[in-house]
């Protein structure tokens, strides 16, 4: 018999009503949702059971019985992941996911991180390495998912923001593609790791896919305003040890006694620490305001953000303004869902000349910053004996920073609109349309002070301007068919679609020519298109056995007609073992799922060239002309090309287990994988004479990556006043080149990679070689004397032929760490919270290029003095020994990325204000410390060659977070 039941659904955490909670009579479609105060009312039968569910909360079931007032307190889902995960072109219940998919939502983001979105998940996901390119404000990071699968082509994952795949190629004037997003606007990061999950993105998915969704308003939600601000101060952690003025004076005088080329007359009387002169304490502040709620049943969220960040290298700075708007209304009884978003970003950068970092190590410490001669802006400058400046000499590092302005101003809009319509007459079928538009506009210039010592005469360009405009367009059309077939205990979910993308850019100053048959036609505006067809079938039997198959067919205008199309299939199977009777009864086990996956993905990102298959003619600029008679002619050059170039292809096999114990208080994942890449896009020497270049990117070679991953999260303590959650993940990955050339040559030692500097030009220290990992160091084995001092020029004769030559170089290790671990801890006691997270890397080598150039011979070449690192006292090298493994060091490290202490003073405020404000203040240290044997500044260097990297500062941050 029916009766009215009413009540309030509240949040177990703060006791406030939760709007939009679904209250449904179990086994029927009868139900309602709670209003903005969390209240509901419903007519039901006394025998029925009500199911209260809301995303992110634990679902509760309550038998109505005699009650007419049922108040429910919903607890937050203790499991890390929300129930639904985003996948390509749709979403899936987490329990039903068949691929290696890992998501991190905003609750679990690294705390206190400032400007860059990728910092939010550093160390959080097993198999995802994120290493910043340096400490400059807004600097980019290199993201690698399960190591790289390519040599020459990009190894960056595909990034999809709210369903819009981004063009990974950079935007001029902006160092980080991701910095167009304000970290505060991000709701989740979902990392698709194995091919069964990524193959739906086809030819761009070989390096994994990161799906980012932004925060949205919720239906029926109360108006919520949040305000965050942060103040930060960044300090340099340490500098390179170089000789100080007194030590250097002593050394110059001592060596002048025996060496005619060392000239002590060049010494000065000052005492300058040049590194002190170029670094500073860098301040920054950040403000974010967002309003979300529901206006006339249209859920919305608007936000604005402003960041102003100085870099620790003098003159570097960044200002960023962001704004977002998201609307996601539903119409016609939820048959039509609209998601519309607009993201805006404007960034002003001033880039410091990073050359100053190297100059500061080398500039004579006995010279003052200014010598006040009135020339060259008063900066101390090396002169020749005739008074002209010494063009070879080290530039004054302070002048390098102050006499040059390198600024950019970039704005970007990303607009997306998606409509999902469930057909009225056939609601199992949903049609979706997505439109996306990504626009950026860059302007930039560098101006060098005309007085600067390195400006050569009036003919020189001291100002350079550049502009770039990019437009990327997206159209997706897809149909989803969803059907429960209870008669055969099955659920089926089918999706099929079409995608069209266009990438267009126009940049100033470059004149290109090409043609459609094989030659010629101006492409000042390079444009390429990607057309795709894709589909997915998901079959679920008895809620225990789930089979997923996807296929994508991609066509890219970047390849020749014959190679234009590629097909990328995948299949995956999942077995929800915990649904089987023999496990269901084990109390401790909440869930166990076994996954098997297979898939093929491609890679087409050859960043250097839009149309690598086309013979392109390129015209030279006005400085590059040749004289015939009295006239100068611009040059037309045929550029190198490979007609037959095509996708590289990666096949991935993956097996994994997802598990949860003790009501999912402990949950984790284990994955093992093998990835085989063939037809590698590889820049190799072409047979001389057969092309218009010596090195060409083409498809040759095979590569294998093998690895495993493990991650676990657990709630150690969950009491009223005390909550402690810890997480740990570990990833192992090793890659190996298995084929490199078109024919077998056992003597082939590999392709030179890894350019080093400091000792003239043209030196490389790494090789890609068969049987070795990518970028393996290729060096001589140093011989040491009894005291452990390296004997200059003496190396081990590894091939025992009685002479030391380049055949004695050996393959050392590669720069990539074998094991990468991430760990985090979050502790909450009453109103205090304390968290930290860090990483451990084990294995891998780093080449200390910073000190390679510092040898005695370099002290007085060409009439000027060069300072040396204090390391010289140890090696005492007279001349450069750049190929010695003396400069290779173990890159293992333990790093604490972040420590945060917070205090929630909501309760303190309430009596003062009379209304609820959720308020939290916190202090944090970023890049707190690193423990390592590496003798340089920082063992984490992309590519493993440490060379005057912009040091990552240690940043102290104070923040305030208000929510009302």
């Amino acid at each position: 018999q029916e009766k009215a039941v009413s009540g309030t659904v509240t949040d177990a955490n703060d006791g406030m009503g939760i709007p939009g909670v679904s209250v449904v009579v179990k086994g029927t479609t009868v139900g309602t949702t709670t209003d903005i105060d969390g209240k509901y009312m419903l007519n039901v039968d006394a025998n029925s059971t009500l199911v209260y569910s809301f995303v992110g909360y634990k679902t509760q079931e309550i038998l109505v019985g005699e009650q007419s007032q049922i108040n429910v307190v919903l607890g937050v889902e203790t499991e890390n992941l929300s129930e639904v995960v985003v996948i390509g072109y749709g979403q899936v219940r987490k329990d039903d996911a068949t691929g290696a998919v890992f998501s991190v939502n905003s609750d679990d983001f690294n705390q206190g991180s400032t400007s860059s979105p990728q910092d939010l998940i550093v160390g959080k996901v097993a198999g995802v390495q994120i290493v910043s390119d340096g400490g400059a404000p807004g600097s980019a990071s290199t993201i690698r998912i399960r190591g790289g699968s390519s040599m020459t082509a990009s190894n960056d994952p595909l990034i999809v923001i709210d369903g819009m795949p981004l063009d990974n190629r950079g935007i001029d004037g902006m160092s980080n593609v991701l910095s167009s997003l304000n970290p505060n606007d991000i709701e989740t990061f979902t990392v698709l790791k194995d091919a069964s999950a990524t193959a739906i993105y086809g030819s761009r998915a070989s390096n994994g896919v990161i799906l980012i969704t932004t925060k949205k308003g919720k239906a029926g939600q109360n108006l919520q305003i949040t305000y965050d601000n942060k103040f930060s101060i960044g300090k340099i952690k340490e500098t390179i040890d170089v000789l100080n003025a007194d030590q250097y004076r002593a050394l110059v005088n001592e060596r002048a006694l025996t060496n005619s080329s060392v000239n002590p007359d060049l010494l000065g009387n000052a005492s300058t620490d040049w590194q002190d002169e170029i670094y500073r304490n860098a301040s920054g502040h950040e403000h974010n305001l967002s309003v979300s709620g529901s206006y006339k049943s249209i859920p919305f969220r608007v936000s604005v953000g402003y960041t102003d960040q100085n870099g620790i290298l003098q003159t570097s700075e960044m200002q960023r303004t962001t704004g977002t708007l998201n609307l996601n209304p539903k119409f016609f009884d939820d048959h039509l869902k609209i998601n519309a978003g607009l993201k805006y970003m404007s960034i002003d950068n001033r880039f410091a000349d990073k050359g100053a970092i190297g100059s500061a190590l080398r500039f004579d410490p006995t010279k003052p910053v200014f010598n006040n001669t009135g020339i060259y802006g008063g900066y101390t400058t090396w002169l020749m004996s005739d008074g002209s400046r010494n063009v070879n000499a080290t530039r004054n590092p302070v002048a390098q920073l102050q006499q040059r302005r390198d600024e950019s101003d970039v704005s970007r809009y990303i607009a997306d609109f998606q409509a999902d319509y469930k057909l009225h007459f056939f609601p199992d079928l949903q049609a979706s349309v997505k439109l996306g538009y990504d626009y950026s506009d860059s302007k930039g210039f560098t101006i060098t002070d005309g007085e600067a010592s390195w400006v050569r005469g009036t003919q020189d360009v001291i100002e350079r301007n550049y502009t770039q405009e990019k437009k990327n367009k997206l159209l997706d059309l897809y149909l989803t068919y969803n059907k429960d077939l209870p008669s055969i205990n099955s659920k089926i979910d089918v999706m099929a679609g079409y995608e069209w993308q266009e990438f267009w850019a126009r940049s100033g100053g470059i004149e290109d020519l090409t043609d459609d048959t094989n030659r010629v036609d101006p492409i000042r505006e390079p444009q390429n298109n990607l057309i795709s067809y894709f589909g997915r079938v998901n079959y679920n039997f008895m809620d225990k056995y789930i089979l997923t198959a996807t296929v994508r067919r991609d066509g890219s205008s970047r390849f020749h007609e014959d190679n234009r199309w590629g097909t990328f299939p995948s299949a995956a199977f999942a077995w929800r073992m915990s649904e089987e009777e023999f496990i269901k009864n084990i109390e401790a086990i909440s869930s166990i799922k076994v996954r098997l996956g297979y898939g093929v993905t491609g890679q087409q990102d050859i960043s250097e060239n839009d149309f690598p298959y086309l013979g392109v003619y390129q015209i030279s600029d006005s400085q590059t002309r040749y004289q015939f008679g009295g006239q100068y002619y611009n040059l037309i050059r045929p550029n190198g090309y490979d007609e037959a170039i095509k996708w590289e292809e990666t096949t991935t096999y993956n097996a994994g287990i997802d598990f949860g114990f003790f009501n999912n208080r402990i949950n984790g994942t284990i994955d093992v994988y093998k990835r085989k890449t063939k037809d590698l896009l590889n820049r190799i020497p072409v047979p001389a004479g057969t092309n218009f270049t010596d090195l060409l990117t083409t498809n040759v070679g095979n590569l294998e990556n093998n690895g495993f991953e493990f991650s676990i999260n657990g709630i150690a303590i969950n009491k009223d006043d005390l909550f402690w959650e810890v997480g740990f993940n570990l990833a192992y990955n090793k890659n190996e080149v298995t084929r490199l050339t078109n024919y077998d040559d056992p003597n082939y030692r590999g392709i030179d990679v890894g350019g080093i500097s400091g000792v003239g030009v043209g030196n490389t220290i790494q090789k890609n070689a068969v049987g070795h990992a990518l970028n393996t160091f290729y060096v001589y084995e140093q011989v040491y004397d009894a005291n452990g001092k390296p004997i200059e020029g003496l190396y081990v004769d590894r091939n025992n032929d009685g002479q030391i030559n380049s055949d004695d170089r050996y393959y050392a290790e590669d720069p990539a760490q074998d094991y990468n671990m991430g760990f985090s801890s979050y502790l909450k006691y009453k109103d205090f919270d304390f968290g930290f997270n860090g990483r451990i890397g084990i294995g891998g080598q780093i080449y200390n290029n910073v000190i390679v150039g510092g040898r005695y011979q370099e002290m007085t070449v060409n009439e000027y003095l060069t300072n040396l690192p204090t390391e010289i006292n140890k090696s005492q090298f007279e001349t450069a020994q750049q190929y010695s493994d003396y400069f290779l060091e173990d890159a293992s490290f333990l790093r604490i990325d972040n420590i945060t202490l917070g205090y929630n003073f909501t309760k303190l405020l309430k009596p003062l204000l009379g209304f609820d404000i959720n308020a939290r203040a916190y202090a944090s240290v970023q890049n707190a410390f690193v423990i390592t044997d590496y003798s340089g500044l920082d063992p984490e260097v992309n590519g493993g060659i440490d060379n005057d990297v912009y040091p990552r500062p240690r940043t102290f941050l104070f923040g305030l977070n208000l929510k009302f």
Partner: protein, 480 residues
């Protein structure tokens, strides 16, 4: 063919074939580089040619420690040397540029002139391949560029025959000396390559061709005349010296900017106390100077022989430290100053053109070929030609020689005095069997301060290992 519709665009394509001899890339300065395996300015053809012809000899030694640059003077380079590698690829790339133009103009008679000039430039590069590498991949306009294939390896004989056939075939279709636009090839360049190749034929193919050397030297001698002032040939307005300069590689401060080419030759040879301003540049790079063995070819360093443009102030004659520019006398041959004393248009990038071939060389080719038994010339004419050079050098007849003074060793020394730093020395020393082995040692030859004997394999450079690996048809002489 949308761009290549007019004569202008073909001319720009031709301009690249010429500019390929000096510039490193397609944008200023040496940016958007042609060769990927080495820095753009190091990949300049002229810079590489200079390094390969001068550094292994007594004429030059460099103070820089760029990679394995030092090995060039030490004569201990291997098949991974990046500079040798770059020279090799630059030669082959130049051939590819020319092949492309030759193929595009096939059957288009209006572009015959461009086509013939490209054939001469291609022959020049094949001649360099013959002279420096002694072998190499053989590719012509008949091969299809842009597809991977393995070119056959041409031997010395095949390269010799090919260059000879090409040049003698088109010789008469080229413009007469001095009648083409400045900077472009004419008959003179074809004759010059042939004369030099015949002179060295015994080295290349074990067959003397001295008579042919005289024949082609005579053609040149009949068409050119000596410039009165030796120094004028190497100054910023040396484009005015077409009476003597047969083929220049042109350079211009504002239009032809490179850190290679003449920028390198002039800057790298200024250093120590030598005032950069007197060379018309903004500062020296303190790299190249000479050895005492070369200084000893001259009667003194004070200019009795005016060709010895030594700068000795603050310099030591002997070289204790290779990496100290002040060890070894400097030479101030090329300058970015005009004959009237004006400074070139740009202090970084000289206007001075490089005289790849000039008449004086062929006076000496003539004399040497006569001495080595060629017919078609006389010893007395040879002495007259040499005395013309010496009168220009001494300002009077005091340096003149007689027939009795004329012998092969004198010719080699005279070639050094007249043509030093003009990219001839290595070839000359090989012809006299003095580059390798121990008959003639100069400071730091073989990486020893006093100089020592070196292996005969260093008479050629090795094909770089990268191409040996890329093309199974290639191989090196034993020892590499």
């Amino acid at each position: 063919d949308k761009v290549l519709t007019d004569a202008e665009s073909y001319k720009q394509l031709l301009a690249k074939c010429y500019a390929g001899l000096i510039l490193g890339g397609q944008n200023g300065v040496d940016d958007n580089q042609d060769i990927g395996s080495i820095n753009g300015s190091f990949s300049s053809y002229l810079r590489l040619l200079w390094n390969h012809q001068e550094l292994p000899t007594d004429e030059a030694i460099c103070a820089w420690n760029d990679g394995n640059l030092r090995d060039l003077h030490d004569q201990d380079w291997d098949n991974n040397n990046e500079f040798v590698t770059a020279m090799y690829y630059r030669i082959n790339l130049e051939i590819a540029y020319c092949n492309n133009l030759i193929q595009l103009t096939e059957g288009k008679s209006e572009f015959d002139a461009f086509r013939n000039e490209a054939r001469v430039l291609r022959a020049l590069s094949y001649y360099h391949m013959l002279d420096m590498f002694g072998r190499g991949p053989f590719v012509t306009e008949k091969d299809r560029i842009g597809s991977f294939f393995f070119p056959e390896m041409a031997t010395q004989q095949q390269l010799f025959d090919y260059v000879e056939t090409e040049l003698t075939t088109i010789e008469n279709d080229l413009m007469d000396p001095g009648t083409n636009e400045y900077g472009r090839a004419d008959k003179g360049l074809a004759w010059a390559i042939l004369a030099k190749m015949y002179l060295n034929a015994e080295v290349y193919i074990n067959t003397p061709k001295y008579t042919e050397a005289i024949t082609y030297s005579n053609k040149i001698i009949d068409s050119y005349s000596l410039e009165a002032d030796y120094e004028n040939l190497f100054l910023a307005d040396n484009h005015l010296r077409t009476n003597e300069i047969i083929f220049p590689i042109t350079s211009d401060g504002n239009n032809t900017q490179t850190w290679g080419g003449m920028t390198f030759i002039i800057h790298s040879t200024v250093g120590g106390d030598m005032p950069a301003s007197e060379s018309g540049i903004d500062g020296g790079w303190g790299g190249n100077r000479t050895t005492s063995a070369f200084v000893n070819l001259f009667p003194d360093v004070t200019g009795t022989d005016a060709r010895g443009l030594f700068f000795t102030e603050g310099q030591n004659l002997e070289i204790g430290d290779i990496f100290n520019f002040r060890d070894g006398y400097a030479l101030r041959k090329f300058r970015n100053i005009t004959s009237t004393g004006a400074v070139g248009s740009n202090l970084s990038f000289p206007d001075t053109d490089f005289p790849l071939y000039r008449l004086a060389d062929f006076y000496l080719v003539y004399a040497e070929a006569v001495l080595r038994g060629g017919t078609g010339g006389t010893t007395s004419a040879a002495v007259d030609y040499i005395n013309e050079l010496r009168e220009r050098a001494y300002g009077d007849t005091s340096g003149n020689i007689t027939e009795g003074d004329l012998n092969l060793d004198f010719i080699l020394d005279e070639r050094g005095r007249e043509l030093y730093w003009e990219c001839h020395r290595r070839t000359d020393l090989i012809r006299f069997e003095k580059l390798t082995g121990g008959t003639y040692n100069w400071p730091w030859k073989g990486a020893v301060a006093g100089g020592t004997s070196t292996d005969a394999k260093y008479n050629v450079f090795p094909i770089p290992s990268s191409d040996i690996n890329a093309n199974p048809n290639l191989s090196n002489i034993s020892g590499y």
